[in-house]
Symmetry: D3
């Protein structure tokens, strides 16, 4: 169960409202890198958690913290929209090009659809959809998904920090950037607790590794037409799971040109596709 | 530029076509964990690559390999659909419950929309959309996104491997599972080459770290109503970037209940919302 | 800010797991009528609330309760999936048609993507997207949106109740149905508190009503080719806002056939479209 | 069957074309609050109508009227785009900042994809999707959905009216605002005809009300950490269906912390998740 | 303006309701190949029509006919769902495997969301979205889009015809197949009226053809690694627009490996990406 | 299998970077008319190809060429974004209205999400989704879909050509326009090779044409209320397939007003809908 106290986790102040910055902040609220995503992702990972109970507990603690970040950003967006409808009207009337220019990028739906409040969309108006909630049932796969979310989230927050000179907004973003710092390492700490790369790789580590193809699991395949490729940590030296050595080889086709059976009549291809004389010889697998 | 030779990277054989397995395989083709996603993701990371040239080269090599996996899976799906339209017709006629039962879960669009071929959708018919292509311009953030893609991809492939007894399909999946093993470590090898966690964290490491809030960047905040929380590697010991120590504290609200200004007349709220007497006192940030 | 205690608002028990019922329950979790939608909708209405503070408070209380319903349903789905992967494997093997038939409709992604846990999608695998979160800034419009959500939600819950014989599931649904009963009336109670239909209509009631077209605001227009239409409360008697009388008339075109200007050259229409001789005469508005 | 006469239901005139207003009008055409939605929603309610025939008839009459509003808005958008490609070109050339400023928010797809015509999208370019068409089979639930559509639609139209000074556009919007006034009350008139709130609540009223949980169907649950909550019409007095009395109580967890079974091997979680020693004790429902 | 008479364009009869066929029919209603798409596509082409008035008129006539097809299919789906909820309940209870098998593929939302009526989705539950409405402002491009819609639509209808033995459904589909026959040729007739391929190609024919690259506009480029390619009508003989001769050549890269500038500091890439020593030399275009 | 050499198919140069043109170019990359779509469409048609092998080969050759166009456009977008973040920052600061005006329409996600690189979205930020990949299994239907893609693609490219004065961009677009010219005719050449319109129509031509309704397959139906309609090539003369004569008739309803059975109790409609006395008489098809 969940509870609230109506107060913000951290103060949200806006000295100079900017509807253009309100639009930018939407990316951190409803974008793929945003707070709606992490809140739902950590919660769904908790709700489906199987195995040691403490991971469920940890996920639920942080998923609930992310709800407070949704609240902070939605408040920041609304405060940046104070006064915006008048300037939108002015912009329509073309009477002050300087003002109009600044607000040229305002999201029209902030006024039209929300009456000057936040929307659950990204900075270009695309709604968030939950296909971005990763919860695979494999804890290490999920931790890497969480690190990704916090790394792209912190990158976004630093870019937003760069764009604004408002001291209230800079203060809020400095807080959110700090939380992203912690959360990145929090999820990696789980991987370390589980033994680190030599223990958790490959993900999932519960699949019998002798059932995977042993000729292709530690080789960097190049696809350049001349057969060369870039050398790096990935092309030589021990593999990160400690099980083998990396090497590099040109990719080459081991299969044939695939040939499907002629169309069956009830699929209603064109007649010319169904001419047996024109059909290629069947492949072994067909 | 790109080239092709029409041959498959690895043989694709199906001994006993199964339209239900064709549907399952769609998840590995057009699902969030699938091959269309990684092909486009690695390509877009290459196309936008800034900095040392070898990473662009590496990404392009592997992105191009993933195109071959799209081709393999699309072929595997088509081969599993041979004969499927007849049994769909039989199923409609209710004349053989045993057959009908088996095919109960066939994707109708494999016949209706594609004439017995693969579709660029997931196993439940949802089209792939490119919001899942992560290419942030920060190489470490992108590498973690790639590890996530390969970890969820390998987990999916092992589940598909478990579901089938067809030797051709098991052989193809053993190959794809092996490639996922390599690719997971390939992306982590980039992170190791860049210095490992103590160097690359927090992502991005180019933001001046003294500008983030120093009170909140290494503390695990609990949100439980009783203030307790799960202990683990994340709650004590040195932080993974080597800059500080982890600790644990209960989250508490530092902000106030947010108060927005009354609605402006041109937003056309209800009149009762605009009564100044009913309005709460303004917050400091308003 | 938000808090949690990890416990469920109401007990969730499943005596006989049913992966098919797990799929059905997804509609109440991630469907348009489901709990993710109402949780986010009530929260966004609270976050953007302007005017008397008690409505923000009320919305936040109930939005937070809906988070607990998300948790309950996600748990119910996971409990209904216990054992499901084995029967999916059996189904693939065709060895027990009776079992296969029952599970024919199982969601493949419950196993493939989630490892036997809930997904944030509807019963047909479509992800939830936040375009369904209504928060217009007009409190009466929002209250009607909330009544709609709870009315379609309760209708869905009664249909789910009809489908299951599991006592644990029936008990959980009887609780959720009761909450929908309360919430429907809770939102209508706000409208009553604001004065009821004669005061709040038309929404928004702050637009100067003499600026709307007075010939068309209380007439039911019929579009049947013979000019007749169905009689009812909407076609005679006082209007519900008390401002006028309903009447009924056949719709008739007051405008002309619209004529747009010929294509400009830089739009690159076909040449034949740009022949001035073939162009129709301009309309008054063009 | 449907017919047309090519003429507009109401005159559409534009004195001063404004590509920025064309973009704003898209919200009323292809937005969630727009005309494509109501046209399809009323039609699908009609097509699936069961019970007294007059409601099908009424829905079909008004759904057909909404088609005429689609036509009006698409025409208004095209007329607002006359001349827009030249100024877009000018804007690209940076030669007249004042003009460029005004058109900074023009939708690029109006020129690029449509050659200066309307698109079936909202004001931010998001296509309309039919998940927004509510037709539940329960007439009262559907009527509330229709009131919601018309309330958000009228709110949007009043905001558009505020933004424009063009007399033709103001005249067209005054007509559409008037129709929204009528349609709001038309759908509520059906509810009154069916007996009003005391008869139609809770929706659906055909579910046996003694099967819902009697402890939770008339209580406003607060989720604040201190157990208090906002008082209002919803927290005391007779319920709107006349069956009980409202009251207010703090929410409290009646369930336990949920515990799922350990992962089955074939879900390929990490090995550490499958350690029986680490598993929590099973919950009663597991 | 639009009108209706409530009657169906063609009789819709179902002798033996089949909820599985109801699901299949959804593809023809809300699929990409379906009736909602063509109705909206022809209407939007009409609404944005510039040039000779008769094409607008023609498009409006047929767009309005497609509305009647939406109505027919929605009715057919509802009639196929009569009785379906009971068998869904039976299926849940596992008591009759034969019945359960047949209905294994029923759409759950037909019962859960619509109360046994049609939904505006495809056969796998994906909502229709209006990004599929093609209306480019170029009449020949639009006519080809319309031919495509009718060709995929007729292919779908023939596959549905194959699946059913119900005489009422076969009769309805034979009518819809006939209309698709007419509509395919109707759109091609416009192209013939405009002069046929030698006049209308390339689309758009109003772009000055000497401004396109004259080395690449009539050559079939092969991308095979060995430089060979399939011979056909496309590789020799006069071009279809009569302006040149087709020929075939291997594709070869005329450009260089692209090099982007190093990341700017404010994009917050990783530090290693910003090392000037590691940066590749700039390309000519950078 | 696929290969690459890292070089561009055609040079991509940008003399004067323009973030606004970068946004416009996104339509050609990730829009419905764009390169991601055609690359995937031709590949999926190849992967599912049944019948003569040379069509598979041809589709694979051109699908692979389109990958090079994706690479070119992504590079062009990145080059147009050089320097864009500084001006975005300036725009936020309002200090130079002339600059701000020009960049008012820049896509915020080019900086926020991609760090100044291309995104797989259209010009308004909507991600590409694969429901736009047409591959029906009928080769003629697919060829018309391909002509449509190239016709809308070339129209878009000519509009982009019109917008820019940058010589590098004009040169690149002149190349892409030329390839669209070739590809339009390439797909039509397949139709000519298969016999032209008299042989391939109606699509599919393998459905027994005597099973379609013979009264409606060559008649243009008018839906105007006065029964008249536009005359053209479609209303008289021989049909394009050579099988019949076109004619024109007013549409008229051959069916009745549809009547569905009353709601079943388990669908939980409102009680008033279930009153048998209020139900209309059943239709013949019910």
């Amino acid at each position: 169960m969940f509870y609230q106290d109506g107060r913000l986790q951290y103060p949200v102040r806006v000295e100079t409202p900017s509807p253009l910055f309100a639009k930018m902040l939407q990316q951190a609220l409803g974008g793929v890198e945003g707070e709606i995503r992490v809140a739902l992702q950590y919660m769904f990972q908790a709700f489906g958690s199987r195995g040691p109970a403490k991971y469920r507990d940890m996920l639920l603690n942080t998923g609930t913290e992310e709800l407070a970040h949704i609240e902070m950003l939605a408040t920041a967006i609304a405060l940046n929209l104070e006064g915006a409808s008048n300037v939108l009207k002015d912009q329509m009337a073309q009477q002050d090009p300087a003002v109009a220019a600044v607000l040229g990028g305002m999201s029209p739906r902030h006024y039209l659809s929300a009456g000057l409040a936040a929307l659950p969309t990204n900075s270009e108006g695309v709604p968030f959809d939950t296909s971005h909630v990763y919860a695979s049932g494999n804890i290490v796969g999920d931790m890497y998904a969480n690190v990704t979310a916090e790394a792209t989230g912190r990158t976004l927050a630093t870019r937003l920090y760069h764009l604004t000179d408002d001291p209230g907004m800079k203060d809020m973003l400095a807080f959110l950037i700090a939380r992203d710092t912690m959360h990145q390492q929090q999820w990696l700490a789980v991987i370390e607790e589980l033994g680190g790369e030599t223990e958790v790789l490959p993900v999932p580590n519960s699949f019998p590794q002798d059932q995977e193809n042993q000729d292709f699991n530690y080789v960097f395949l190049t696809t350049s037409v001349d057969g060369t490729g870039p050398e790096g940590r990935w092309s030589s030296g021990p593999s990160l799971d400690g099980n083998s050595e990396f090497r590099q080889e040109p990719a080459s086709p081991l299969g044939e040109v695939p040939v499907l059976a002629p169309p069956v009549p009830e699929a209603f291809a064109q007649e010319e596709q169904m001419d047996p004389a024109a059909a290629p010889p069947a492949t072994p697998g067909a």
